[in-house]
Symmetry: C2
Subunit: 460 residues, 2 copies
């Protein structure tokens, strides 16, 4: 097919927007091992999960049969408020790098939550409403996920309680205000609203809280109420499924213009953005239809893929969740003060982990100051001020484009730009002031983290 002139930004029309999510698990030759009930070490059944999650999300979590899962019309209508997101041809960046490579990015930041998180928030809120629930609850650290869920809950008419890590709620009062504006109740965690919170407060009266504690409080709130469920913003298979709307839109837009990506790059925290971005393309690779180079990018300070172990581990540091087989640094691994809040997770999506283990993709770890150098360059040439998380992908995309300049190769590079950095200016300030430092965990740091892996037979 003859290439047309590619516009700066490709927007699908409403007719062209995807009507189905892409369930990557259905085409994977090896499925990732099942979640385990930590008490029995038996695979989790739907009934095990029912007190915590919505029924439809559990169904999707366990579904590895159906390649396409219909996006309900109500969710598609919600998506129309902020989707399609643009697929952008980075003409200005290409020129600035003087590279023969063609660079594209899928920009998910043009919505009030500022990131891709809204794609799954919308779906999970809808399913909760459909099930007749009155309320949902979650935890949030940096606040992106809490904001996204607040928007979705307001739209579908659900009460939402967000447990926000206390120190974050104090450091980011304006994130909290966005959630409040959408009608969410934001409770600094630990709080006296749950037994878990009261216990922590008793033991550590002045604590600033932790994500692990906030998860425990939200889960407790869900399991102690018939009309409330817990929702999670990453890691789980159904979240990756919802995020496949990103990859689906990319694929439709690229097919329309006859663009064949040679590499697809995304940042990896919990893995849902990356898993969603690559989904239909990876399906093609598994079926032998392409040989795309997939690259997951993680911070050198929290290198779960590049230096972690493929093992069963808890999803939270409080050790309350089911066990997932994933690349992990150990649930008690304590990431250093790294500004990319959304990438500070000890584990990784089981789907992404299995793909990495089976060598369908590779992973790269990058250091923070190099990431911000790329972020600044990108902001100045492409206009968009990127989130620190997203800038990990920018860094590697730029490195690959510069490699093309050396070799003269005209590769087509696609990367995921997950969000904007408007609420991350403290990190930019550190970079602008020259006070930002890099941190790479020592082998001893990693050893301490691995020591927290559950003591169970790992080869199941």
């Amino acid at each position: 097919m003859a290439k047309q002139t590619i516009p700066y930004k490709i927007y699908l029309s409403e007719d062209e927007m995807p009507k189905v999510w892409y369930n990557l698990k259905a085409v994977m030759n090896r499925k990732h091992p099942p979640f385990l009930n930590p008490a029995t070490l038996n695979p989790c059944s739907a009934d095990d999960l029912r007190p915590v999650f919505c029924d439809e999300c559990i169904e999707q979590e366990l579904n590895d049969r159906d390649l396409y899962i219909e996006i309900p019309e109500e969710i598609r209508n919600f998506y129309k408020m902020y989707r399609p997101s643009p697929l952008v041809r980075a003409y200005c960046l290409e020129k600035a790098l003087d590279t023969p490579a063609e660079i594209y990015y899928k920009f998910e930041g043009n919505n009030t939550s500022g990131s891709h998180k809204l794609n799954s928030a919308a779906a999970q809120a809808y399913y909760a409403k459909k099930q007749g629930l009155k309320s949902i609850t979650t935890e949030t650290g940096a606040g992106q996920w809490g904001t996204a869920l607040s928007m979705a809950a307001a739209y579908f008419g659900l009460d939402l309680t967000v447990y926000m890590v206390k120190v974050s709620s104090e450091q980011k009062p304006y994130r909290k205000e966005v959630m409040r504006t959408y009608g969410a109740k934001v409770i600094p965690s630990p709080s006296d609203t749950t037994a878990a919170g009261r216990k922590i407060l008793e033991e550590f009266p002045g604590t600033g809280g932790s994500l692990g504690c906030a998860i425990s409080e939200a889960v407790e709130r869900a399991v102690t109420s018939d009309s409330c469920r817990y929702v999670l913003g990453s890691v789980l298979d159904h979240v990756v499924l919802h995020q496949s709307v990103i990859g689906q839109e990319c694929k439709i837009a690229m097919d329309k213009y006859g663009i064949q990506p040679d590499m697809i790059i995304g940042c990896c925290g919990g893995g849902s953005n990356f898993g969603g971005l690559i989904a239909p393309f990876m399906g093609g690779k598994i079926a032998g239809k392409n040989n795309i180079d997939f690259i997951g990018v993680e911070p050198a300070s929290c290198p779960s893929l590049t230096r972690g172990k493929y093992a069963y581990d808890f999803c939270d540091s409080a050790k309350t969740t089911p066990l997932a087989k994933m690349y992990t640094l150990g649930c008690e691994f304590m990431p250093s003060a790294n500004h990319s809040g959304g990438l500070r997770y000890h584990g990784m999506s089981p789907i992404v982990s299995e793909l990495y283990h089976d060598k369908y993709m590779r992973a790269v770890a990058v250091e923070q100051t190099k990431v911000f150098e790329a972020a600044e360059k990108f902001a100045r040439t492409e206009g968009i001020l990127p989130a620190p998380e997203s800038s990990h992908a920018i860094r590697v995309a730029m490195d690959e484009a510069l490699r093309c300049k050396e070799t003269g190769e005209k590769k087509t590079i696609l990367f995921g730009l997950t969000g904007t950095g408007y609420f991350d200016m403290a990190a930019y300030k550190a970079y602008n002031d020259g006070t930002m430092t890099d941190y790479i965990p020592t082998d001893e740091d990693l050893r301490r983290g691995f020591a927290s892996l559950p003591d169970i037979p790992q080869n199941r």
Copy 2:
């Protein structure tokens, strides 16, 4: 023409994007009176303005002959980075209001500066570059304009110095960081870098500064250098001209779908957004081709159109600029603490003023708490968290839609959504906490403001 189904969002293709700005002055039956040199009270010549502004901007400022002015390709390429902006059909808001009215809004917030300001920043930076200048300078209060200009200066490779009102730079450190990330030098004003700043610092050592003082410093920087010029973000005719890209895109999109607006609503601070939004539609009204109801919305706390005088006044409170004939509250009118920073201006675009004086449009003043009530409703139904400034237009659009519900009229309403409120969360917090108050100036407040009008013959 039969109406097609209107998508949630209408994006023009690159081919459809406007190639010309619409110079409203060329079709106005009465042109606004000329700027006056305050020393001689003679009309300002191009030579009077040359030490301050770029040559091409002066040419555009004085041009009332050419209806269409070509947008240079370099600026159109810049526009392609963040334009076209979407024209959104507010299906969700219509449903929430249960109104027969059809509501559209043109959303200018999907860029890093967060507002429409970038449309003129791009043009002014380009013309400075083309003239061979090395640097530009400006002042900023809340920071939106400074951010937009930082982005444009980075793109075109110009040095930029921003004088930021000192108290703002302390209260909004992150706004400052965005500008720094784009390479701008941000100087809290008053500063010791200018004679004007040093004088103020000597007289008032602890002052937090003012917009008037920051303007004086920036203008001084420009006029004392051959390679630097001053750029302004609103009020002036050439800024309104650049902003006409908003109205041009609206008109093209609406014509394409056969949509005829019955009313067009926009917020009015300096008037450039409103003037740009209405430009081609107002041209039609002047030519007798439509009878659109144009409504400018201003805060009740700073009511230059609804309670001001049509008089010659200084554009700045320091009384250093040429005199402009405009609706004004007097250049020393001190707006109360109103959170809509961008609407706290004593005067109004001379173009908008003349149109208002000649009754081609009307104006409405609204109170702050009512504005935030509308903002919250809009955020929860349409997803976008609006800037307080933009929310003035939302308030009146909602009021008009609710009036339609009473009367059963199916009016088509278009309003301008100029930007996002991510950097205005302190104001939202006040609203969420219930501590926000309204303020309407007393007649005595207005009298004090009018007393600062220059003592010259006003009927010229």
